[in-house]
């Protein structure tokens, strides 16, 4: 069963004569529990595609159904609620709130979901334990290494047990060792929890554990590779 189903996705930027056509009619389906990677060169449109699938942006044309809901007609408030309840994000540069400790960063979406302070704290601690940051609950992002910050971001994405996790080049700002650790972590968590993971990356190496790899070029999916192939 597909958890993401997108048809004929177009995304244009600009006005009048200065229109840039970034996505040129993409069809993509991702099954529940799948770990997929979207790859391509810079400017291929992979991040833009991810933003459309993850309700961060609205396509100029096309239909997107995520977890059985058509997300294109959503208004801003509905999109925010949908992202909170269904999706998890790992951004390229960690994207943690600098004033909050690691624990509080992870607690944010949990509190927003209505979880009690105590329950959110317990859940947050267990998520941080899962990503190997048992002794870093109270550290501020500025007191953590890049790899550790990205782990906190992964813990934040996982804590609310979303159905789908979107990771936008999660290794881009990390050295190769830390980058590999993050990929291993995502792979491990995917195996444990069975969540759907959509990852944008431009490094073939990091896409190895994925079930499928979508290759993009000039706003179109040009190739799909299954792991088994």
């Amino acid at each position: 069963m597909n958890i993401i189903e997108a048809k004929n996705i177009h995304r244009e930027f600009g006005k009048d004569d200065l229109i840039t056509h970034v996505l040129k009619g993409i069809d993509i389906s991702i099954a529940e529990g799948e770990f997929v990677a979207i790859m391509g060169k810079s400017g291929a449109g992979k991040s833009t595609l991810m933003y459309q699938l993850s309700a961060l942006d609205v396509p100029t044309e096309g239909e997107i159904i995520v977890d059985g809901q058509s997300i294109v007609p959503f208004n801003e408030k509905e999109r925010t609620a949908f992202r909170l309840n269904t999706l998890g994000y790992v951004f390229q540069d960690y994207a943690l709130v600098p004033d909050l400790s690691a624990r509080e960063n992870v607690m944010m979406p949990l509190l927003m979901k209505g979880m009690s302070w105590e329950a959110a704290k317990i859940k947050s601690d267990s998520s941080l334990d899962e990503v190997g940051l048992k002794d870093k609950y109270y550290n501020l992002p500025g007191e953590l290494s890049g790899g550790e910050q990205q782990r906190v971001a992964v813990a934040r994405a996982l804590a609310g047990q979303p159905k789908i996790i979107f990771a936008d080049e999660p290794t881009a700002n990390l050295d190769s060792v830390s980058g590999q650790q993050i990929i291993d972590l995502l792979t491990c968590l995917h195996k444990q929890n069975g969540q759907t993971i959509v990852m944008v990356t431009h490094e073939e190496e990091y896409a190895k554990p994925c079930d499928r790899i979508f290759y993009m070029e000039d706003g179109l999916i040009t190739d799909i590779k299954n792991r088994t192939q």
């Binding site: 999109r79 925010t80 998890g88 951004f91 709130v97 927003m112 979901k113 501020l140």
Partner: protein, 415 residues
């Protein structure tokens, strides 16, 4: 509810992690704004209140009894005074007989009988010196000479506005006698009756009513003014606590004493123009203080705007992970509230803990009053509420402007 919780967490953490000196500076600005709002109108109103207080202390007391409108004097004054003993709230009182006379000086040295006499039309108060002193501390207002002795007769106290050497600083507006000092003989003429008095002392007060008065013992007054009925013109009463005056005045009216005289509290006796001036000064002070509020709200706006703008990406990310816009706006409103509350609290502490007691002990010396800092807690509270609300709005608007921006544009730093 969730938004409020997250807003509170984000807001408090931002305050906690902010630079100590920046936060202190913002709070300092808010404190100055609060002080500006309270102190400017406080000093202006304090001028009038200081004058009122001086009149209350040196002239009129807490309850004022005068003749009824249709009468010349207080009827049955002796009966009235006997009744005063029934009110334990009354600390002291003074019975005053008032009349107008002509005060003449230097008449013994006068050589040219066709020339102008050195005389002034004066208000004469006939008082019991001891009671009057207990009521108004008149003996402490002497600038020359001594106070009246209750056992002596033939002595007079003269207010400075009747003495040329003191009054000439105000120009030629007062009717004066010149070169009069304690020990000099003056003549008081009322109708056909004239009597010589020795000047016992010269009195000076911030209250014009005292400066424009002469005082002689009541027995002599009655003789000079031929007032044999013993009905007085004014009885001024001091209560144990100033605030008891309404209770006393009402009780006196209820017991029927208002059949003999008009009974008013000090506040009731204030002329309307004085109340209007006070109101106008308060309004004027508030208007001047409002300029401070505008400056403070712009300061808060800029601070929150820069703060939110520098965190635009984080705001985008928070929205990206599903945090409601409301929560982010609340976080910044919390910050603005913190600055307003802290600044106002410090301002209030400074006002009530230091400034008000200081000016109480060291009044600002104005010619017509001892200026105090008037900071009525109720009006201070209302001003604080106005400052607080405006600060919240000044905090909300920039947060709203930044938080309403497109989520993805914020995350990617796009315009």
């Amino acid at each position: 509810m969730q938004s409020l919780r997250i807003g509170l967490l984000l807001g408090f953490r931002q305050i906690q992690r902010a630079s100590f000196w920046t936060t202190s500076l913002i709070i300092f600005v808010m404190m100055l704004t609060f002080l500006n709002l309270i102190a400017v109108s406080g000093v202006l109103v304090g001028l009038i209140e200081g004058a009122e207080r001086a009149v209350r202390e040196s002239a009129l007391g807490d309850v004022i009894v005068t003749a009824k409108d249709e009468e010349d004097r207080i009827l049955e004054t002796e009966t009235f005074v006997r009744e005063l003993g029934a009110y334990p709230e009354i600390k002291t009182y003074s019975i005053r007989y008032k009349g107008n006379g002509l005060l003449e000086a230097n008449y013994k040295e006068r050589r040219d009988l066709s020339g102008e006499r050195d005389s002034a039309a004066v208000i004469v108060n006939g008082v019991d010196p001891v009671r009057e002193d207990s009521m108004t501390n008149l003996s402490e207002l002497l600038v020359e000479g001594e106070y009246l002795n209750p056992n002596e007769e033939g002595y007079i106290l003269i207010g400075i506005y009747y003495i040329k050497e003191y009054a000439e600083q105000f120009g030629d507006i007062f009717d004066t006698v010149s070169n009069v000092h304690p020990g000099d003989t003056v003549r008081l003429t009322v109708g056909d009756i004239s009597k010589e008095f020795i000047v016992k002392g010269i009195i000076e007060s911030k209250v014009d009513e005292v400066n424009l008065a002469t005082y002689i013992p009541e027995r002599e007054f009655r003789r000079v003014f031929n007032r044999l009925d013993r009905n007085a013109d004014q009885i001024v009463i001091r209560t144990n606590e100033p605030s008891q005056n309404l209770v006393v005045a009402e009780a006196m009216r209820d017991s029927g004493l208002d059949g003999f005289a008009k009974i008013q509290t000090f506040e009731e006796s204030l002329p309307k123009f004085l109340i209007d001036i006070k109101y106008t000064f308060n309004l004027l002070g508030t208007l001047i203080g409002s300029i401070g509020i505008v400056v403070a709200s712009i300061t808060i706006f800029i601070i929150i705007f820069i703060n939110a703008l520098s965190r635009r990406r984080h705001i985008g990310i928070l929205k990206g992970i599903g945090i409601e816009r409301k929560a982010i706006e609340i976080a910044y409103v919390i910050q603005a509230a913190f600055y307003a509350l802290s600044g106002s609290l410090l301002g209030a502490l400074l006002t009530y803990g230091f400034l008000v007691p200081y000016f109480e002990k060291n009044p600002i010396q104005f010619p017509f009053s001892d200026g105090i800092l008037s900071a009525d807690p109720e009006s201070t509270f209302y001003k604080f509420v106005v400052l607080f609300i405006i600060t919240l709005i000044a905090g909300f608007i920039p947060a709203w402007l930044i938080a309403k921006q497109n989520t993805l544009n914020s995350i990617l730093g796009r315009k």
